[in-house]
């Protein structure tokens, strides 16, 4: 704190702390904590809520019957006996009304109950979709890595500088084009009457329902997020001293051992970043399943989250779903850091 004050003085230090504080607490930590808190409770009807509702219904019925009886008495000629019966009925009805009011008061103030029921609900209803989303995202990540590593290595170490610059520019364009457009291009290709089925038709095949089967989601996802793997790996391989590769070669290392013993170990931070980004984007993608299935295939986990919030409006369960997704991503990050032995400081660059 003293070092801050020395370079900025009191007032400016206060402004800096205020700005950073609103960001950290108001935008990052606050919302996340509230979301987690929300996922851990639900509004519960008081003790035996269903029985109370049933009792209230029964009491209303009794009042109805009493009112009918009372009407019968009202039709009789006036007498003291009639007045006494009427008063008796009114008294009974009033008593019942009071009882209902008491019961309704307990019924309409549900209590906030902390429990993990929201998660249990997810486990019983949508565990399969959750698992499918995670596995498919791992698949996308693996494919992206195996396709992109040779690419990154080629650009960083094999191409002449001028050509490398050109290739990078050419890669930047599809990388920077809006995600939605890249997805839509594949929707046009894999549509039931799209280009892929037209080609299949030329060879006499039946049209394949790519979108309806969920294949489209996977294909478009690989396409949409693959370039998030190229750039981080390229950046780390580029910092590797070429002499190290040449030296390994001179000492008789084959292509395989050059890569496993020299290039890959050096590229670890880049690989970690690429894998984390690709996995996170895939598991958390809403656009790809939204556009590529039109609601016909099994939902992606993110779509369930959307439905919980904006269609069935059960925010507590929705928060539990959202936190489960976040938890998977955090676990994946720690796994990658552990596996590749990199620190967070190496990752975010």
């Amino acid at each position: 704190m003293r070092s801050l004050r020395r370079s900025f003085g009191g007032p400016m230090t206060a402004v800096i702390l205020l700005l950073a504080g609103t960001w950290i607490f108001g935008l990052i930590a606050g919302p996340q904590l509230i979301m987690i808190e929300q996922s851990l409770w639900r509004m519960e009807q008081g003790e035996g809520g269903a029985e109370i509702s049933a009792r209230i219904d029964r009491l209303y019925n009794q009042i109805d019957i009493l009112s009918f009886d009372k009407m019968d008495v009202e039709d009789k000629p006036a007498s003291t006996e009639r007045d006494a019966t009427l008063a008796e009925f009114t008294g009974k009805i009033d008593a019942l009304t009071v009882e209902i009011a008491v019961l309704e008061a307990t019924e309409t103030t549900p209590r906030k109950v902390y429990s993990i029921d929201n998660y249990r609900l997810m486990g019983s209803a949508h565990l399969a979709i959750f698992a499918k989303t995670v596995i498919a995202s791992l698949g996308v990540t693996a494919i992206a890595f195996f396709v992109c590593y040779p690419m990154a290595y080629t650009v960083a170490k094999l191409a002449p500088p001028r050509r490398a610059a050109l290739i990078l520019l050419a890669l930047t364009v599809p990388y920077a084009i809006n995600e939605l457009l890249r997805i839509f291009a594949w929707q046009m290709i894999l549509n039931y009457n799209g280009l892929a089925n037209a080609m299949l038709g030329v060879f006499g095949f039946e049209p394949v329902p790519f979108l309806e089967s969920g294949t489209g989601v996977f294909v478009a996802m690989v396409y949409a997020y693959i370039l998030f793997m190229v750039f981080p790996i390229y950046n780390t391989i580029e910092t590797l001293d070429t002499n190290q590769i040449e030296a390994a070669k001179d000492l008789g290392a084959g292509t395989w051992s050059i890569h496993t013993k020299v290039v890959l170990p050096h590229a670890r931070p880049g690989i970690a970043v690429g894998c984390i980004m690709t996995f996170m984007l895939s598991a958390g993608s809403y656009a790809v399943p939204y556009i590529m299935t039109r609601g016909t295939a099994d939902p992606w986990f993110t779509q369930l989250i959307y439905n919980k919030f904006f269609e069935s409006t059960n925010w507590n369960v929705g928060a539990a779903y959202a936190f489960s997704l976040l938890a998977v991503c955090v676990v994946f990050i720690f796994l990658m850091m552990k596996l590749l032995k990199v620190r967070l400081q190496d990752i975010a660059k």
Binding site: L4, F8, P11, L27, P31, G284, S285, A319, A348
Partner: protein, 273 residues
């Protein structure tokens, strides 16, 4: 760094790599070509399999689309507000991490980069939950805050990279010679950060403008240009979407080239002794 010699390889491997690159670039660009082509097709649906001749009428159709224009206005409002919020926050965060000599710096840093490693939909939905508890429902306001959460992280990283190269002695000399803190900040730190402020603004603008995942979960009943495009794409009813695609691609190529030229010039300037 880039002036390093390339690794030499034999001709056969070179050929294999060339083919690999060719396939990769075909894979990257072919879908985009298809999408562009359909924008010029005189057919009521986005398609290249049914070709009815060349037309520019979808451009006119797009220009008359009210909802797209209102979405564009919303996108611009959001982007400007996000820049105004996220840049100062990111800069403040960068000052904390670079100048605060404390053992909590690591934790601070981890928290500040965490939005980049969090799925966008989580940032969106948690912001909406947070503000609903105070009685504010989803709309442009929550979308601005949700986007600022991660845009500030980008800004923080960029400012941090710049601040780490700052020569502190200049600032200290100014203070020793009697400059006030405000003067030193205004005349030394700000001019030093100026290039980063410009690039960070551009990046923040693009990140905000192009964002879909965070926005769709935080914007409530409102829409931006990109969320509107998303909901139209789902059923792909009109080639106006392809026209938007063409415009986006043109802009992207323009900016990417500009960026590459800019970076090349920067690098040459740094290479000079």
């Amino acid at each position: 760094m880039s002036a390093q010699a390339q690794v030499s390889i034999d001709r056969k491997s070179r050929l294999v790599l060339r083919i690999y690159m060719g396939i990769f670039f075909f894979y990257m660009f072919f879908p985009l070509v298809i999408m562009v082509a359909a924008g010029f097709n005189d057919y009521a649906q986005p398609s290249v399999t049914v070709w009815r001749g060349f037309t520019l009428k979808w451009f006119g159709e797009l220009a008359r689309d009210e909802r797209m224009w209102s979405g564009l206005v919303n996108s611009l409002i959001i982007a400007v507000c996000v820049i105004a919020i996220a840049l100062p926050q990111g800069l403040a965060g960068a000052f904390l991490v670079t100048r605060l000599q404390s053992r909590y710096t690591g934790v601070l840093y981890a928290i500040m980069v965490s939005p980049l490693l969090t799925p966008g939909i989580i940032l969106g939905i948690s912001t909406v939950i947070f503000w609903r508890n105070i009685g504010v429902s989803g709309g442009l306001f929550t979308a601005i805050l949700a986007q600022s959460t991660f845009v500030a992280s980008y800004a923080m990283l960029m400012f941090m990279a710049r601040l780490q190269r700052q020569d502190m002695s200049l600032e200290e000399a100014a203070l020793d010679l009697g400059a006030t803190h405000a003067q030193a900040f205004h005349q030394i730190t700000i001019p030093f950060l100026k290039p980063t402020i410009v690039t960070a603004s551009v990046i923040a603008f693009l990140q905000s403008f192009e964002n879909y995942n965070t926005t769709i979960f935080s914007i409530g009943g409102q829409h931006t240009l990109v969320t509107e495009i998303g909901s139209r794409m789902r059923f792909g009813l009109s080639p106006t979407i392809n026209v938007i695609g063409i415009l986006f691609i043109l802009l992207t190529v323009f900016f990417a080239t500009l960026y590459a030229v800019f970076r090349e010039r920067e690098r040459r300037r740094e290479a000079q002794p």
